[in-house]
Amino acid sequence: MHEVEIAVAIAVATLRAATPLMLAGFGELITERSGVLNLGVEGMMLMGASVGFIGTVATGSPILGLLLAMLAGAALALVFGVLTLSLMANQVATGLALTIFGVGFSALVGVNWVGTPLQGLSTDIWPSLSTAPPMVQQLMLLDPLVWVAVLLPFVVQWFIYRTRAGMILRAVGESSDVAHALGYSVLRIRYFAVLFGGAMSGLAGAYLSLAYSPMWSENMVAGRGWIALALVVFSTWKPLWLALGSLLFGFVTIAQFQAEGLGLALSPHLLAMLPYIATIVVLVLISRDATRLKLNAPAALGRPFHATA
């Protein structure tokens, strides 16, 4: 019975740890599928974290806070879009600048809110909680954003492979010239994808400051934006593999804590490396076929588009 309890605790903690990676990762996946590489995920997450926190404290409504966080992420993404899509600035350099800007600006915006206490997101979303068995209760106590993250891979999978809009998105990412020749507005579609990516990064940041550890503190995203970015590439832009990678990363992080707590005699240095090593090894193994990797990578990724005709 004790083993079952630990297993449930690990499952719950894994889902929570993977949620910010999935939210930001799927936003970036859509952005990159449209052929745009936005390295500003960390900065957009930080903006979402600070604005989401402030919005929730100021309005008293977590829903409004989450919406504001998405708007903040999208606003930063819009700046990126104007610079890289309309003005055709270099995407890599602009994305890096966006992260640096987001780190500083989120700190500036949030400076008076550091240390403000906040009740986390309500987990009280299911009826008749008290009659459920304790194990189920544990799962039901997960916050709503975790369930959003759990559904997301399937929604995105369906969207990009099964809907007309998704196929147009991919066409723009594969060959912007062809999509343009077919009469699609490449820039408009890329703007949508970039804004969606920004909003999801904002949501991921707000998850950290509202649910994962309800607090605002400068730089609290602590590199998760970069991990989400890396996961998108290692998953070869495939939604289900991205979900797998995020869950794996979350799982190994949590398993490391559990192992240390249970007194497993392993070096803490080794354990600290495990999430990175395990995720890279697994994702490299499933995507080791170089030709398929090439086929999956959006062919126009990172290339600016300029309509010549």
Partner: protein, 361 residues
């Protein structure tokens, strides 16, 4: 308005490496003192405590002193040296560099400014114009160990630690040894999160320890996430660096806090009077550099008395936290009965006492 790296970052997209200017409101005849902070001041934590010290200095000496600070100065790269040099060039006569990583830059700048005095926190290299200072954090930890030993029902203390380095190990061993004086069945579970600051990870580690039966958690990291997590789960917690009672009004029992006020006031007074000499200061409970924050009302009076007695004994030197007999995890005697550790042994501590569950290296 303070011109800092951060506000400039906010104001422009440019990397403001050249713009880390100190706040400067100097009265012409006042003695200029500079502070270099590794992190933003925030409202709790390591840098915040140094800022409290700077404010106390200004309050104590008034217009006789101008105390400038530069926050958020990275330890790595050339920024630190440049900022320290800038303060020295601007006429600061005494400069406090408040993080371990500033050691080499401080010494380098000190060489070219022999008339400027420097004090470096937590370092071990000194020069004729460079002092070092640090605090015996473990003495405060020892007191929290007594409270933890009395308050735990499961006899499991969860400890969220940043890295397996001596400063962290000292605290863990001190808590264990103290807790076992009042409750021989206590064990400590240690989880390393490999980061000084990652609220998400700190929180997840605390949740894990709680799910494994810890009913008291403490941390040696820089955020208040562990204290907040404990409040939500309803288990006892201890804060670190700053008083964290307001993050866990019901469950935060107390915090080990740093108090640099007197050090900054005394050193600055000596520098003004011309009696300053390079020195090494390692203060503890006695000098007030380490203090316990306010105790939670949940701590029974009998335990309060026990803590007060232990504190008095540590201050008088009658009680040494690292006194034998102490065995390490393998059962080897690390401190013989009747012996105690030298300062050098404490500074290099690289073993866990028997009863700590966790692995170093």
């Amino acid at each position: 308005m303070n011109t800092t790296r951060r506000t400039l970052l906010g104001a422009s997209l440019a990397l403001p490496a050249a713009a880390m200017l100190p706040r400067d409101a100097a009265a012409a005849d006042s003695f200029k003192v500079g502070f270099i902070y590794v992190a933003p001041i925030g409202d709790a934590g390591w840098t915040y405590q140094h800022e409290l010290g700077r404010k106390a200095l200004v309050a104590a000496l008034g217009s006789a002193v101008t105390a400038t600070y530069v926050e958020n100065v990275p330890e790595e790269g050339a920024d630190a040296e440049r900022v320290i040099r800038k303060l020295a060039t601007d006429g600061h006569k005494l400069i406090y560099t408040t993080s371990f990583g500033f050691m080499e830059p401080t010494l380098k700048v000190a060489k070219t400014f022999p008339k400027v005095k420097f004090a470096h926190c937590t370092g071990y290299k000194r020069a004729a114009n460079v002092s070092t200072y640090s605090a015996r954090f473990y003495e405060g930890r020892y007191l929290t160990g007594i409270i933890a030993g009395r308050m735990t029902k499961s006899n499991v203390i969860g400890y969220v630690a940043a890295f397996p380095i001596p400063e962290v190990v000292q605290g863990i061993n001190a808590v264990l040894l103290a807790a076992r004086t009042v409750n021989p069945n206590v064990t400590i579970k240690v989880v390393f999160v490999s980061s000084w600051f990652d609220p998400g990870k700190e929180r997840a580690a605390a949740d894990t320890l709680i799910s494994q039966g810890a009913d008291v958690v403490m941390h040696h990291t820089d955020s208040s996430a562990v204290v907040q997590g404990a409040e939500e789960k309803g288990v006892w917690s201890f804060g670190y660096d700053s008083d964290m009672l307001r993050y866990g009004p019901k469950t935060n029992l107390t915090s080990v806090t740093m108090d640099w006020d007197n050090y900054y006031i005394d050193q600055t007074k000596e520098a003004i009077a011309g009696t300053w000499k390079s020195s090494d200061t390692w203060g503890g409970l006695k000098s007030g550099m380490v203090k316990l924050g306010p105790l939670n009302t949940a701590v029974p009076d009998s335990v309060k008395a026990e803590v007060a007695a232990a504190q008095a004994k540590i201050e008088s030197g009658a009680l040494l936290p690292f006194a034998g007999p102490v065995k390490d995890q393998s059962g080897a005697v690390k401190i013989a009965a009747g012996a105690s550790l030298s300062d050098g042994d404490i500074l290099g501590m690289n073993w866990f006492a028997d009863g700590v569950q966790g692995k170093l290296g």
